[in-house]
Symmetry: C2
Subunit: 378 residues, 2 copies
């Protein structure tokens, strides 16, 4: 037994966010549903795919306007995507839900009346409890940035499960985020100046961070992050986003960084990116995305060949050059991902030899480092 | 041997339109290419999938601005999608093409240089020649409307190939367009008041009309249509769009229309559409899209059931009702397609019995008629 009415527009926004945790492919059928808890203080929506869970609280009032009116508290689980589609298409400004003892749910709005078979909320798995102590608070804008600069580099292969996540290392009031798929590596460092947080070393699944990124809107300024032994809770506004952590040890990546570059270039990020983008049209067709780079003076030459289609040659003018000549080949996709992650108009590239990984950084900035392994064509 | 330079932005627009005729799945490999003819008067681009062909003329000047500069006339066939991707990504405002005797084509713009393997234009199939006599001229807006109101009803099955096209019948200065997939039928009539055109009876492939619709922009006012024995040419602005006609006899559909309705309703098009749209959420889930309608007084009731999910009931208030009670079932998709095709705020629906086809028309307008066969559930 449950009964409430709610503003439809507001409900739709929150339902869409809840839906982001729900996967149509789930081993536990009840997880295709959205759990609705109507309480005297408002409504709580829950969606989960057992890896990540989203819990959204809709208060009775928002900015002085009544959003929800609960006339009888209670709970039900309704078929997720389906229920959201119905709410989206209803005709009225308001929608009313009422549930009987068999969890049959009557949804009315205007001259429209749906009667849905709901499920028993007691069958819905309990969300993990994460203690609200030992929180890390970050500006939403910064966290979005940290995710954008590392998450693309996680592995999509389950061969080494730890590499499908991003390593978050907190020590000496610095957060170091590392992602690698063993062909390239992304590191983002962030000073936690005003924070009093204990040391941490966790691996957050890349998929969870991608979903979190979609949910965080910049209408909220800050996000609170709470760590438990095998879970992490992100709290932003009225949303609780919970992800399990990946088990295992993240590899030590510090030994991957070579020393003493042979040649260092400073390039316009956008010019370099677009030249590679064009060259990759042919590199893609060749099947392996290989682009050759030849540097030595201001004119950096990029080239690629597809035996069937033809050849391409691009020239980019470097702003600064230090060191000798070099020829190297790389995967165009990795290079473009790295350049996108470098949030700066000018990028520095350090090459250590044809066979050695090379490094990209924003000019005069050590917070972001991208490392890419070359392809051996020479 | 061919050489010209061209404004890139303008080139991209015309290439995108040419590409619409090209299918990646073709039995004749050269048809994955775009044929480029550089003449003293400008450039002609040709794309074809052998069913439809698009021929676009780019003049040397547009509105007094130089677009093309041909320094050496000639022809080449370049890999279609690929060539267009390159032109889109080039850095400069202008792009230069030059071809050698082996049809190797050098494409340069800014510091970017592509060398593509082209094909011999003599291997490209000749376009059918359509005589420019006996033309039908229509406003572009009207033709777009005619297509939108009929084309959706063509059959997607090749069982009866003639039904994959729209029958265009011209007689006594009236154009009658008919499409049916044997479950529903759409008819659009158009008086050709100022036209002096002979009688015609042709079947134009639905896919061709759909592509034509995408290419016709309302920046052009009129389109000229020329009929040959097995081809039709649509000429709009600088574009020639040629489609083959379907062979065979189109069935006589006039005997499908029942007479003497049992009940006639006048309904608000949008209200009716949205009620069916909602009911179809459950109808879809049931697998067969069945919606039941029950009419007799002003309150028209729509309902649908999915055994797994639940039930829906919608009420729509009719503006006018003539006749007795009726219950009928229909496919929600066909009904929604028909209502979308009725370009009027108010729709008239005539029912002739539970087992008989029913008819939808714009209120007080006979130019559009939609006929739908019911589903037998009663």
């Amino acid at each position: 037994m449950m009964e409430f009415s709610i503003q439809r527009d507001y409900f739709i926004t929150q339902l869409n966010d809840t839906l982001k945790a729900i996967s149509p492919r789930t081993t536990l059928p009840i997880l295709t549903g959205i759990k609705i808890d109507a309480k005297n203080e408002g409504i709580v929506l829950t969606g989960s795919d057992s890896e990540i869970s989203i819990e959204i609280t809709i208060p009775n009032q928002v900015d002085g306007e009544e959003i929800v009116n609960v006339t009888e508290p209670g709970s039900v689980v309704l078929p997720g995507r389906f229920f959201v589609d119905i709410i989206k298409k209803l005709p009225g400004r308001e929608v009313k839900l009422s549930t009987n003892e068999q969890f049959q749910t009557l949804i009315t709005s205007g001259h429209s009346e749906f009667n849905l078979s709901g499920l028993d909320p007691d069958q819905y798995p309990l969300l993990p409890q994460v203690s609200s102590e030992d929180a890390l608070q970050l500006p939403v804008k910064v966290l979005k940035n940290v995710i954008a600069q590392t998450n693309f580099a996680v592995s999509t292969s389950e061969t080494r499960p730890v590499l499908t996540g991003v390593n978050w290392l907190i020590q000496e009031n610095e957060l170091i985020c590392t992602a690698t798929d063993s062909h390239r590596l992304a590191v983002r460092k962030l000073k936690l100046e005003d924070e009093e947080i204990g040391d941490k070393n966790v691996i957050i699944p890349g998929k969870a961070l991608a979903e979190l990124n979609k949910i965080m809107t910049e209408s909220e300024e800050h996000i609170d992050i709470f760590f438990a032994s095998n879970q992490v809770l992100f709290r932003v506004g009225n949303v609780n986003f919970i992800s399990r952590l990946l088990e295992g040890h993240y590899p030590d990546t510090s030994r991957l960084f070579p020393e003493n570059y042979e040649i260092k270039l400073a390039l316009d990020n956008s010019d370099f990116y677009h030249a590679i983008d064009r060259a990759s049209l042919l590199a893609r067709e060749g099947g392996n995305n290989v682009i050759k780079l030849s540097a030595g003076d201001e004119q950096v030459e990029l080239s690629s060949t597809s035996p069937e289609i033809g050849t391409v040659k691009e020239e980019v003018t470097a702003n600064e050059v230090e060191g000798g000549n070099l020829k190297i080949s790389f995967n165009s996709k990795y290079m473009m991902d790295a350049l996108k992650a470098i949030d700066n108009d000018e990028v520095e590239v350090e090459f250590f030899g044809t066979m050695k990984p090379f490094i990209l950084k924003p000019k005069d900035d050590d917070t972001v480092t991208q490392l890419i392994l070359p392809i051996r064509t020479y």
